[in-house]
Structures are given as C-alpha cells and as structure tokens.
Amino acid sequence: MTATWLRVLGLTGIALFLLTGFTPLVNLLRYWMAPHRPVEAAQAIVVMARGGVGGDGKLTDASLRGVVEALSLYRSGLAPTLVLSGAGGAVGGSEAAGRKRFALGCGVPDTAIVTVEKGHTTREEASEIGAVLRSRGLQKILLVVDDQGTARATAVFERLGFAVVPAPAAGLLELGGGPEDRMGAMRLVLIELLARMYYRLAGYL
C-alpha cells in the first residue's frame, strides 16, 4: 500500500516536472496571477525591494531591473516622485541607497527620490512606505514589484488605503523560455502561492 502511494506520488512529481519544463503551463500561471489594469498617471512610483544587495555590495540583477522599470515609468512622465525601497545588506549600504545612486546617475533629481530602508516582508515594507507616502500627502501610486508578487503587494497597499496602479499593469502572455527558466519561474510561482495563503490565513489580505 505504502509503495503504491509512493509510486503515485513519484508519477505525479514527474508529470508536474515535465508539464513545467516542457509546456507553457508556468507562463499561463504567471499570466493568470498578474493583475490586469491599464497604466495611468499617479503621484509616486513605488519600487518594492527585489533581490537586495549582493555579497560584493552591488545591486543584484533583480534589484536593478526593478529600478530600471521605475525609471522607464518616470521618464514617461507617469509620476513625479520615485520611492525606492530596500533594506540594508550584510555588505555595504542598503538596497534603497544603491538604487538611489543608480537613479541619480541616470539623471533623476535628488528632490524626486525618496528612500525607504526598513521592512523585510511585503507587509512591513508596505507599512513603512505607506507612512512616508502619507507624510507627503501622496495617495495614488504606481507599484513596481516582481511579476508574480504584484497582486499580493497591490492588495496590501489597497488595504492600507492607497489607490494602486500595478506596473507592468497587464502582464503579456509570453509562451517562450527553456525548461530551466520555466523551472525557476515555477519555483517563484509556488513561493508566491504559499505567501498568498499565509497572508490570507494571517488576515493581511
């Protein structure tokens, strides 16, 4: 009996592995998980922490991608203020400070940048950023988060009373990617699904 159950579990695992690596299943899941709203102007562009600072004290690729997406929105004139978030790493300064240096280097004026260096979880970060936004009278935000985490972060900010425009607003359905890319994406999707479940159980959503 135990052996039968183990075989069923093993077969299920292999089927999921093949579906993930060799079909567009994860692409569809990511598309389904992303909120679909039109991009519109807001009062601030909020970039949530993503990837942090590497062991060499430099921004990780994921963190840079977030700030580059925000700069693109800023240059399009969608909001006059950049709120860059990211706590301190073990080496060097915080992610937020690194992002600010990058944005300054790209020509964004110092007065248009606000940094938030507290908060390790989405909820803590939203709470810290929310306090900063309120102190400046900002209520409508363009939110830059990693794709699969957008819906949860959007819901957390909305619960704090902010009007949120997720960016990218409508994830495009991309069916490409190799098996390893898809496996990595599925790992992030599963983590996000667990996080959503936890946030619902804890009453954060």
């Binding site: 052996a3 075989r7 579990l9 077969l11 292999i14 992030l188 983590i191």
Partner: protein
C-alpha cells in the same frame, strides 16, 4: 525548439541503454518495468523529504521571526541544493527500505 532537442537526446541515450541492456547484458524486459516502479517510489520518497524540509523550514523561520529579533528570509529555502539534498535523502531511505 531547444527543449525538444533535450527530449530527443534523452530519448536517444535511453534507447541506446535499452539495447545495451538487452543485447550485451542480457537484462530482462520484466525487470525494466520493476526498475521503473522502483524509480517512481524513490522519486515519491524524495518528494516527501522535500515537502517535509520545506514545511519544517517554513515553520522554523516563521517561529524564529516571532520569538527573536532576528530576521530570517523564507527565500533561504528557495535554493536548488534543497532539491538535490532531498533527492539524496529519498535515495538513501529508499535503498535502506529495500534492503531491510
């Protein structure tokens, strides 16, 4: 297209291994079915270990956050080595079970 090449490659080496097993080593067809069955059991065991590792890891991290001032990221568990280690646990436990 690249992923089809991978599948073809694995299909090719599997076919070659089947031919070597049947013609050179004289392995039985029935034993191949039993081998697949054993492999599924080992994969199932590895998945059980992986699930247990993730579940216990999550509970430990969340409890540490509540009980201490230290912050531990749940992304610590997002590491491919955990999959490999869980597979090794499954293999060892499965082999132990088979030999007892």
């Amino acid at each position: 297209m690249g992923h089809l090449f991978l599948l073809l490659l694995v299909g090719l080496t599997s076919s070659a291994a089947y031919l070597v097993g049947r013609r050179r080593l004289g392995l039985g067809r029935q034993q191949l079915g039993m081998a697949v069955s054993s492999m599924l059991e080992l994969v199932g065991l590895s998945l059980l270990f992986f699930t247990a590792n993730v579940a216990i890891g999550l509970v430990t991290i969340l409890a540490a956050r509540e009980l201490t001032a230290a912050f531990l990221s749940v992304y610590t568990l997002n590491d491919a080595s955990l999959v490999v280690l869980s597979a090794l646990q499954g293999l060892v436990f499965g082999c132990w079970r088979a030999r007892s």
